[in-house]
């Protein structure tokens, strides 16, 4: 048996421990992007509200931005409720 190839395989295995979290291709990135979109929507709503107070933006864009922010917050709250509910369901599971 070639010693070098087994050493190389060992080192290759050592660089990827089995317990390390694998970077899921879609799952984590999608969630991260959704969170970024959410934060962006909130920020846009805040900016529009600020400029409407200062007299820059008109009431229509204020109402539109606030409606979109409300929508985003409601979506986030609903998803969070679902996740917490699922987590509690797991905690209640008899071991």
């Amino acid at each position: 048996m070639d010693l070098r190839s087994s050493v190389a395989a060992q080192q290759y295995a050592a660089t990827r421990p089995a317990t390390a979290a694998k970077q899921a291709p879609g799952g984590m990135g999608g969630l991260e992007k959704a969170a970024q979109d959410f934060a962006q929507t909130l920020q846009k709503g805040e900016e529009t509200a600020l400029s409407a107070m200062a007299g820059g933006a008109d009431a229509h864009s204020l109402v539109q931005a606030l409606a979109q922010t409300e929508l985003a917050v409601e979506t986030a709250v609903t998803v969070r409720d679902k996740v917490v509910e699922a987590y509690q369901e797991i905690l209640r599971m008899p071991v």
């Binding site: 008109d58 229509h60 109402v63 979109q68 929508l71 409601e74 409720d81």
Partner: protein, 130 residues
């Protein structure tokens, strides 16, 4: 969800355009007695972004009504010519009021669409709650 958000944006643009139209109408009514004033009319254009229509509406450049100005007989007026006439405005109050009512109805229609899109998105999220 994106479609409903787009609906909100389109309805808001419609309301904004009608508000701009109402602003010109109020200018016309305020200047109904101004000599030489031509009534302003708002034009509506499709909103274009990167060469593609977004579905939203914008108000285009102001167009002045080229109908002849009203000749008003008033010999004591400083602007009156040798025959005692001067050029008034070509604003017809009845037309302005009718136009304003049309703007109001259009605004209400856009408002209803806005409300409906919001209700639809909220009832969609209601599905997830029990």
């Amino acid at each position: 969800m994106n479609e409903l958000a787009n609906t909100l944006a389109v309805s808001a643009s419609g309301m904004k355009a009608q508000a701009g139209r109402l602003r010109f109408l109020s200018e016309n009514i305020a200047n109904a007695d101004t000599p030489g004033y031509r009534r302003k009319t708002a034009t509506f254009d499709q909103d274009m972004q990167a060469g593609q229509a977004t579905g939203q509406v914008t108000t285009g450049p102001v167009v002045l009504d080229q109908q002849p100005l009203a000749r008003i007989y008033s010999p004591g007026h400083p602007l009156a010519d040798e025959n005692g006439y001067y050029d008034g405005s070509n604003v017809d109050l009845i037309v302005e009021i009718a136009d304003a009512r049309e703007a109001q109805r259009s605004y209400e229609a856009n408002l209803k669409m806005f409300e409906q899109a919001r209700q639809m998105s909220q009832s969609l999220l209601q599905l997830l709650r029990r």
